[in-house]
């Protein structure tokens, strides 16, 4: 009797098949138990495998992006003229808005000096990273980026794009990091409405890749279309980063509170590059 690698399997062992299954089950449960205690630490085998495969994954993913973008370009070439006209009008509108924003910012600085308040916005130091792989299972929403410990990325570092928050780093190896997306059912971010200032917790795992803003009081005035930002409560995420937009507001079961369905502003399914916040200074 021989097993897959050519090593003889004693017939006594083959007769104790349920014992073998029980041993495998116990060993794997022990592994899960140890991994849970380790938390954000990555085990050496996992780190080594990810570091070794990262260049291969990066190459395959960049090839598939190139193929995809070429196909997209060919199929959308007719639409580009219309889009160009629309974008020209949009630039003019945004320039006007920018002038207004500059005026408001100057006024804000003057008033803060007058009241002796510290600056409201935090200043961040970033490192840019490329997405090299995603979780292939249907259970979790994570992705792997090509920056790790060597680039000073740490567990719980916040990951963003110019559109808003992507998630936070969960595990780090020397050259890669695993990012838990805000749409993952394990994710929880302190959040609030940008205009209503209602505070809650943004949880992932809702239908169609949406998130849920939960623990809103019954009197919350959050509205459909409102932008949801990080509240800064809980420590990991700095205040004021854009998370998503409210699509629906509903009463919780038994009417004790409210929850809002939030669509992330970042297109989490089509991420190619991200920024990792290394440190923030007020």
């Amino acid at each position: 009797m021989v097993n897959e690698s050519g090593v003889a399997m004693p017939s006594q062992l083959r007769n104790h098949k349920y014992l073998l299954l029980a041993v495998a089950t116990v060993l794997l449960t022990l592994l899960m138990s140890i991994a849970t205690k380790e938390g954000s630490k990555i085990d050496p085998a996992e780190g080594l495998l990810r570091d070794l495969l990262a260049p291969v994954q990066k190459t395959i993913l960049s090839c598939s992006y190139k193929i995809g973008s070429t196909i997209d370009y060919i199929t959308t070439i007719k639409r580009l003229g219309e889009e160009n006209a629309y974008l020209s009008a949009e630039i003019a509108r945004l320039k006007a808005e920018q002038n207004l924003a500059i005026e408001t910012r100057e006024e804000n600085v003057r008033l803060r000096k007058l009241l002796n308040l510290p600056p409201a916005m935090e200043v961040f130091r970033f490192v840019a990273a490329r997405v090299v792989a995603r979780d292939s299972s249907n259970w979790y929403n994570t992705l792997i980026i090509d920056q790790g410990c060597q680039a000073k990325v740490e567990a719980d570092s916040v990951v963003i794009t110019n559109d808003g928050v992507v998630g936070r780093v969960q595990k780090v190896s020397a050259r890669t990091a695993e990012v838990l997306l805000i749409s993952d059912q394990r994710s929880a971010v302190g959040a609030m409405g940008q205009s209503s200032r209602d505070v809650g917790v943004l949880r992932g795992g809702d239908e169609e890749g949406y998130c849920r803003l939960v623990y809103l009081p019954r009197t919350a005035s959050v509205q459909v279309g409102e932008i949801i930002i990080t509240s800064g409560l809980g420590g990991n995420f700095p205040k004021g980063l854009v998370l998503g937009q409210v699509m629906e507001v509903q009463a919780e079961d038994y009417g004790l509170g409210k929850f809002a369905r939030v669509k992330p502003t970042v297109d989490l399914d089509h991420l190619e590059e991200v920024l990792v916040i290394l440190e923030s200074q007020s």
Partner: protein, 174 residues
């Protein structure tokens, strides 16, 4: 290098390649909103064709690789896939090798069982907070259907891996 060792590395390399492709090039390949579980289809096919020792072995190896390369708790996929591989291996000889419908049905059942075991194992360590009904509707059932649809092709590939080459005089070892 013996035939068994060569086959071992061929299957190991195949599983790693499948995981790399599913995490990159084939990421958007979805049926009913979910990705088919090619690793389960491969492990299940090997188990149906060659019995519980290989089902248990490849279930553990394939599951561990999946755990290491994805964001899941190390050991969770390995536990689910090794139990399912073992159970499917007990059906060895009871399924006609020429029939591809029966393996597809067996792998649909295996997909459901694997999903439930994974949910229980990960839930036990606080990794999954979804309610069971939601998980069955959103993940377990559609994944089992998608995996079963792809399983005949993967079953045939696994069958060919174990087929002795006409130039190889040695007989299969198991």
């Amino acid at each position: 290098m013996s035939l068994s060792t060569r086959r071992f590395f061929l299957i190991l390399g195949g599983l790693v390649a499948v995981l790399v492709l599913q995490g990159t090039f084939l990421y958007k390949l979805k049926l009913f909103g979910v990705r088919p579980d090619f690793i389960l289809a491969a492990v299940g096919s090997i188990a149906l064709l060659h019995g519980w020792p290989r089902g248990l072995l490849w279930g553990s190896v394939g599951g561990l690789l999946e755990d290491l390369m994805s964001g899941s708790l190390p050991g969770s996929h390995a536990l689910a896939k090794s139990i399912v591989g073992f159970a499917l291996g007990l059906l060895e000889g009871k399924v006609f090798k020429e029939n591809i419908i029966l393996p597809a049905i067996a792998l649909f059942g295996a997909g459901l069982a694997e999903g439930v075991i994974f949910y229980l194992a990960s839930g036990l360590f606080g990794e999954i907070e979804w309610a069971f009904v939601i998980v069955v509707r959103k993940v377990i059932f559609p994944t089992a259907v998608a995996t079963a649809l792809f399983s005949p092709a993967i079953y045939r590939i696994c069958e060919s891996i174990y087929k002795p080459s006409p130039y190889d005089r040695r007989q299969p070892l198991l």
